[in-house]
């Protein structure tokens, strides 16, 4: 805080007493101090006085008088412009051109050349610099309330269903695990029953590793195998048929394994020998 940031104490005190905030008072007092310093040095403050501005304008007009553009706008009274010694847009354009060194007709970019145009070009962006948005206008609705309401209701329905099921059906709990006692009915969880059923027909490496592995990889590769661009069911009968076939085949294996296999994993009819299935 040396002598370069002086405060006009008088102004500061007056503003503070008027209830202005300290920040405002300090800024205004500083400005007043700077102003006083300039006056003391003999500098003039603010915009040029009208007569000086007029004079500068006349000088400019007379010097540019020979130019093509400037002559067209030589009569500023036509456009009703130039109050207080300001340039009309036409004159400003001419001045820019003169300073750029080309006296031709082509106007400089971004500078309005007539008083009809009141806005100005700020920049030219190459097409490559603009992100191309190709999305079509679609029939859309607000997420709230439309979508969130549907989601909330289905969430409540699922919650209620589970709560009711859990109230009436207890999760199974068998006797303590005993590695030395193989139970008569020995099954995997239901979603792996397809694999266990396959195990009945194939070597474990095929049924337990190769087939599920191939199945999983095929599933992941589906979008890269199915090159058909259409999503309409009538255009993709093969894909739908293939998926339905595999899904039903899998479902069939699960059902057979779950319900039609009994002690020793032998074929049974559940209505004859009872249900050998626990969830």
């Amino acid at each position: 805080m040396s002598d370069e940031v002086q405060l006009d104490q008088e102004v500061y005190d007056r503003l503070i007493s008027e209830g202005k905030s300290e920040r405002i008072a300090r800024a205004k007092a500083k400005a007043a101090a700077v102003r006083q310093a300039k006056i003391a040095e003999g500098q003039s403050l603010g915009p040029k006085p009208p007569e000086q501005a007029e004079k500068a304008l006349e000088e400019f007009r007379s010097s540019a008088g020979g130019g093509g553009v400037a002559t067209k706008a030589a009569a500023p009274a036509e456009s009703g412009a130039a109050p207080g010694g300001r340039l009309t847009p036409e004159e400003r354009a001419a001045r820019v051109q003169a300073s750029l060194g080309n006296g031709g007709e082509a106007p400089s970019r971004g500078v309005p050349t007539s008083s009809e145009h009141t806005h100005r070009l700020l920049a030219l962006v190459p097409p490559a610099g603009i992100q191309q948005v190709q999305s079509k206008q679609m029939d859309k609705v607000y997420t709230w309330p439309h979508l969130l309401l549907v989601e909330f209701v289905s969430l409540l329905a699922m919650g209620a269903l589970l709560l009711i099921a859990s109230f009436f059906l207890d999760a199974p709990l068998g006797s303590l695990a005993n590695p030395n006692e193989v139970p008569a009915i020995n099954k995997a969880p239901w979603y792996f029953m397809g694999l266990q059923e396959l195990l009945r027909y194939f070597h474990p490496m095929v049924a337990g590793v190769t087939l599920p592995g191939v199945f999983l990889v095929m599933l992941m590769a589906a979008p890269f195998i199915d090159k058909n661009p259409s999503a309409k069911p009538e255009n993709r009968k093969v894909a739908n048929l293939a998926f339905t076939f595999f899904a039903s085949f899998w479902g069939l294996l699960v059902l057979i394994g779950s319900f039609l296999r009994g002690p020793g994993y032998e074929w049974v009819w559940p209505w004859v020998e009872g249900l050998g299935f626990t969830l």
Partner: protein
């Protein structure tokens, strides 16, 4: 008058305004205008999942049956009930230390809501496997895996696998005969992995056969490791839905 006074006292303070973003419907109240409808979606954490506007045809229940949303809901429900169950469970087994099985008995006998929460967890797990599978079928029949959604389909298949693994690892934890032998069937198959089958089985079982080490290992996999991986893939899955242009269709 008193009501308005209370309302302004609750809402016009630094804490309330720091919690609810400008434009939040909890900040100044909600009026049913387009602006507030947009802000209701935009100014809360749900904006991570849903854009301000969605395609109208996707609202129809018979288009999605809400299966993806329900799968996620079940995942959250299983996390919550699972945390509850963790308070009453110790993954210890073996001669003289059959704590896990004992805990299961105590849970249903003497823990308030213990049996109910366990039931919710069990049926919820089965339901989640089911909804995830149905979600996949729905996506297939709508051809929703086609460009630009190919990668999200792959993420979805990974999530299906993770769901199965989550369910399967949880299956062992009650440490009853059902659990032990169901898991035996599954892990015996893994032993037939070509080249390093024995090693795979050894790592998964923490030994040459299912024992106390397996229980501890699968417990950690079930409550921490696989859920963590699943959350990461879920985040990618949800993010890609929005980046790939929202729901597929209309057909």
């Amino acid at each position: 008058m008193a009501k308005n006074d209370l309302k302004s006292r609750v809402q016009d303070n630094v804490i309330w305004k720091s919690i609810f973003r400008p434009g939040s419907i909890y900040r100044k109240g909600y009026r049913d205008t387009s602006r507030d409808r947009a802000l209701a979606a935009m100014n809360n954490v749900l904006y991570h999942l849903h854009p301000v506007k969605v395609k109208r045809h996707g609202l129809k229940l018979t288009y999605t049956y809400c299966l993806g949303g329900l799968s996620f809901f079940l995942f959250v429900l299983l996390t919550v009930t699972g945390i509850f169950l963790m308070f009453f469970y110790t993954p210890a087994a073996g001669a003289g230390t059959e704590v896990a099985y004992l805990n299961m008995r105590e849970l249903s006998a003497s823990v308030t809501f213990g049996q109910l929460v366990r039931n919710l967890h069990r049926w919820g797990a089965h339901a989640m496997v089911f909804t995830v599978f149905l979600h996949m079928a729905r996506v297939f029949y709508h051809g929703a895996y086609k460009p630009p959604r190919e990668f999200n389909w792959v993420v979805g298949v990974i999530l299906l696998t993770l769901t199965l693994l989550l369910s399967f690892t949880g299956y062992l934890l009650p440490w009853d005969q059902l659990a032990l032998w169901a898991v035996t069937v599954g892990t015996n198959m893994m032993g037939f992995t070509p080249v390093f089958g024995e090693q795979v089985q050894f790592v998964l079982l923490g030994g040459v056969e299912i024992g106390p080490n397996t229980l501890l290992r699968w417990y950690v996999l079930h409550v921490l490791f696989i859920p963590f991986i699943t959350v990461v893939f879920l985040a990618v899955h949800f993010w890609r839905i929005r980046k790939d242009g929202g729901i597929s269709g209309p057909l």
